[in-house]
């Protein structure tokens, strides 16, 4: 029984002791945006269901999605989906074994943040 004292051992330093960096912040934002998009997914599928059901029901769902609160959710989700899209491309690039040099990784992080903001503004402007 070499290790009787389980559960009370020192842990390695974890994220709480590190200063936030572009790479770490853009990483956790990928997870946050991806999972938060479930809200827009539920709303959009509800909108489709309502449209398939009746005009009255559609007006209820459409009224919510196009209200200021619905607009806010959809606009935030638009940024979230573009951010997650670019961050996903970054992951596919990393999966090819490239882009791990510190300066490249940092530039990719800038690209994801700036690119997502630009795409959001362009999309909102076009649509």
């Amino acid at each position: 029984m070499a290790d009787v004292n389980r559960g009370n051992r020192p842990l390695s330093p974890h994220i709480s002791i590190y200063r936030p960096q572009w790479t770490s912040v853009t990483s956790i934002l990928t997870r946050i945006t991806g999972n938060a998009l479930i809200l827009a997914s539920v709303l959009i599928v509800w909108w489709f269901l309502a449209a398939s059901y009746s005009e009255d029901y559609f007006n209820t769902a459409n009224g919510f999605l196009t209200s200021w609160f619905g607009d806010l959710i959809m606009f935030a989700s638009l940024w979230a989906v573009w951010y997650h899209f670019l961050a996903g491309l970054r992951h596919l690039y990393w999966d090819s074994g490239r882009g791990f040099e510190l300066d490249v990784a940092k530039k990719l992080a800038y690209g994801v943040v700036i690119g997502s903001l630009v795409l959001t503004v362009i999309t909102a402007f076009i649509l």
Binding site: M1, A2, D3, V4, R31, G34, N35, L37, I38, S41, V42, I44, V45, W47, F48, L49, A51, S52, E55, F58, N59, N62, L65, T66, M74, L78, V81, F85, G88, L89, H91, L92, D95, T123, I126, L127
Partner: protein, 123 residues
């Protein structure tokens, strides 16, 4: 005083041996979403806010309807696998299993409802 040997305590605690397939599934679904997501943003975004008749007419056309169906289906598969990875990172024990089961049920429910609704509009 624990009576299990160190070896016995460790057996069965290793990798579940399904991580590679899980990761591959994320790569495949994300590859498909590269084209679907922009197509969905620009088709759905264009019609959101239009009156009922226009929306129904728009989604009776094959292209917007197929884009919406595929986007909902593939993104829910992608969500199912992605949220599972998050749950496995942050939740332990029975709560982990319950959370994974609920998230999978939610993914399939959204996909099923979405497919039904669009089929009903389009057909």
């Amino acid at each position: 005083m624990p009576i299990l040997t160190d070896r016995k305590r460790a057996v069965g605690m290793g990798s579940a041996k399904s991580g590679t397939m899980h990761h591959w599934g994320m790569i495949v679904s994300s590859a498909m979403l590269i084209s679907l997501v922009p197509l969905f943003i620009f088709t759905f975004g264009r019609i959101l806010g239009a009156p009922y008749e226009e929306v129904v007419a728009y989604y009776s056309r094959p292209f917007p309807a197929i884009v919406a169906v595929l986007t909902i289906l593939v993104s829910m598969v992608h969500f199912k696998n992605g949220v599972q990875a998050m749950i496995e990172d942050y939740v332990q024990g029975t709560a982990r299993k319950v959370a994974i089961i609920l998230s999978i049920c939610l993914s399939y429910t959204i996909a099923g409802v979405g497919l039904f609704a669009i089929a009903r509009i389009a057909l």
